[in-house]
């Protein structure tokens, strides 16, 4: 039986679906984070070069991956919203920006606390750090631009254009370690080569990455529900919601 996915492209049908999914993703994120932290902080051995400082990797790399990935997803929803004028796509893009900014912030701060003991400085204007900082400014710019425009549909279009323009920064972050001489090392994990790290460390990092994925999905779905209520209040389907009627 084919599922009619377009049925869920309307806020009225997506709202309850998202509400059912949030606890599952949130619980999965919490469970995986607990396992991942145990593997990363307790099970994984001390590194022979970096001692225990390397343990920041279990936080830093998943957050950095998510910060880039969420931006691409946000830009993708923005492109759909601009092309088809679909309001749920624009709401998804709006809901992703704060979680993307959060992941970028975690990547930058964990990187600073890793850089100090290993490179001798909390911050350096290395190509990858600088482009990741620009990513944070892009997220904050998208959020600020939305807050500056009263009409939500106009804000959708303006934020969509800004988000799409900013996509150029993503390959710059990703390839910065190849294009320039940076403090950052080249990719340790890639799809084409065997990973250049111990398998238990890799396992911990992948579990934490999965936890970050599930957390981001839960946060974005929870936020998009809030955005729906905010933007569609007055619509019949909002008035009919039990959580609105019950008061």
């Amino acid at each position: 039986m084919a599922i009619n996915w377009f049925r869920f492209s309307s806020p009225a049908t997506f709202y309850p679906l998202a509400g059912k999914l949030v606890p599952w993703f949130a619980t999965g994120a919490a469970a995986l984070a607990a396992i991942g932290l145990y593997v990363g902080l307790v099970v994984a051995p001390t590194d022979f070069q970096q001692s225990d400082a390397y343990r920041i990797i279990f936080l830093h790399v998943p957050a950095a991956w998510m910060s880039m990935f969420l931006y691409v997803v946000m830009a993708g929803w923005s492109a759909i919203a601009l092309g088809y004028n679909t309001r749920l796509s624009a709401m998804m893009a709006q809901a992703i920006a704060p979680t993307g900014a959060l992941m970028t912030l975690i990547a930058l701060t964990s990187g600073a606390f890793w850089g100090r003991p290993t490179w001798g400085a909390y911050w350096a204007w290395d190509a990858r750090m600088t482009s990741e900082l620009i990513l944070l400014f892009l997220y904050l710019g998208v959020i600020a631009l939305r807050n500056a425009i009263d009409d939500p549909r106009r804000a959708d279009r303006a934020c969509g254009v800004l988000a799409l323009t900013g996509v150029v920064n993503i390959p710059i972050i990703y390839f910065s370690v190849q294009w320039w001489n940076t403090l950052h090392q080249g990719a340790t994990v890639s799809l084409t080569k065997a990973p250049a790290m111990a398998s238990i460390m890799l396992t911990g990092m992948l579990i934490m990455s999965l936890a970050a994925w599930l957390y981001a999905i839960a946060a974005v779905l929870a936020r998009v529900r809030t955005i729906m209520v905010e933007r569609e209040r007055g619509a019949a389907w909002i008035a009919a919601l039990p959580e609105v009627r019950s008061a």
Binding site: L41, A53, I56, L59, V229, E230, R233, I238
Partner: protein, 59 residues
């Protein structure tokens, strides 16, 4: 336990990084919750307000 927390002298850096991340996640969850409460209250007052609006066509 204290050896675990000390992390061979890197404890300050490791726990600062993880602590800030945990704090940021908690703040995000609380912000989403408080925003949800606020918009639901707003929606209720729209529904039961003095001049109830009929269904608004949004598309």
């Amino acid at each position: 336990m204290s050896a675990f927390l000390a992390m061979n002298g890197y404890g300050f850096y490791i726990w600062s990084a993880y602590g800030i991340a945990a704090l940021a996640v908690v703040v995000e969850i609380l912000l989403i919750r408080s925003h949800r409460k606020a918009v639901l209250a707003q929606a209720r007052s729209t529904v039961s307000g003095p001049a109830p609006r009929s269904a608004v066509v949004t598309e």
